[in-house]
Subunit: 190 residues, 2 copies
């Protein structure tokens, strides 16, 4: 199945290319070179660079480890802390200087077009939903103060993380993500 | 002074071009067309697109209204609230779908090169410093709990705003910036 293999190779390598270069600066040639496939093969598998970027965004969000968010053996605040610690660790592992792929592609969504924007929108919706479930569990158990709709509180947590990853990227410092973990997370979950 | 005028026209229009298209997607031709100047004139005034982007970033941060942050006639929390409300308003006025220019160029800083990254870094440093002074004033007056270094708390506020502007951009919703104002700001300044 050579055709399927080319598509898989493109998908496998595109995440790093988009993370490191962003959407606009990454060319179809960059993507095919990274995947080790002929340039001409790209459009046999994807209608456009946008099409691949949306696919990569959705895979990136699906690959986000949300397992601990539903771990009923842990207090809800601890589930949330472990989840975001995992996101910090993932961003450090793939290069703090490149930031979070969802954030990077979201920032380019105005120029990248409707498909990329829709992928980012769907990615945020999915992530907010998973975090909101742990927030709701914490509100039910009394660990997290009630009175704010779980999805809205979940959104502010995610925004705090994304903003911190963005500043860490621009400044080359880990302070922003450390402070997200020790200040923002704690205050928002009080 | 025709040469000076061309440079000024480029600077005057580049902010909108970079905000709307981002760094990589905006070409030198986009910049000269927007400014209404000959394409060939660009390199008489700027060494590179990076050079202009860094200049625009620094101007954008300098144009940020921080006057209320030092207004001793207001409680420190109110100064901070007004400052961030002004940033939300500025982002809405220039198009929520384009987000904050500092955030957009920071997100592209890995591919845009050292000059743009240094501009974003300097922009963050300047902004964090101005916000930190109001945080410190609030800690002295007892309005804001002490125990966290003002610059670190200021950074988390800015990250919360930037993350919210980013999600608002990708999702097309104002909810994230509204929730920054009513949830994140309140909790971080408790």
């Amino acid at each position: 199945m050579p055709q399927r293999s080319v598509k898989e190779q493109l998908i496998e390598h595109a995440e790093d290319v988009f993370r490191q270069q962003g959407f606009s600066a990454a060319s179809v040639q960059d993507l095919t070179v990274a995947a080790g496939v002929p340039k001409g093969s790209f459009y046999n598998h994807f209608a456009s660079k946008q099409d691949l970027a949306r696919e990569i965004l959705l895979r990136y969000v699906r690959a986000t480890d949300i397992s601990m968010l539903a771990d009923e053996g842990l207090p809800a605040r601890e589930r949330l802390r472990r989840h975001f610690a995992g996101q910090v660790e993932r961003t450090m592992r793939t290069g703090l200087e490149f930031g979070c792929l969802l954030g990077t592609l979201s920032a380019e969504s105005a120029a990248a077009g409707q498909e990329v924007r829709a992928g980012a929108d769907a990615g945020y919706t999915q992530w907010v939903g998973a975090v909101a479930e742990a927030v709701a569990a914490g509100q039910r158990s009394g660990e997290i103060s009630a009175g704010i709709e779980p999805g809205r509180l979940a959104g502010t947590l995610i925004d705090g993380f994304e903003g911190a990853a963005l500043r860490a990227k621009a400044t080359g410092q880990t302070g922003p993500v450390d402070d997200f973990m020790t200040i923002t997370l704690d205050r928002l979950l009080s």
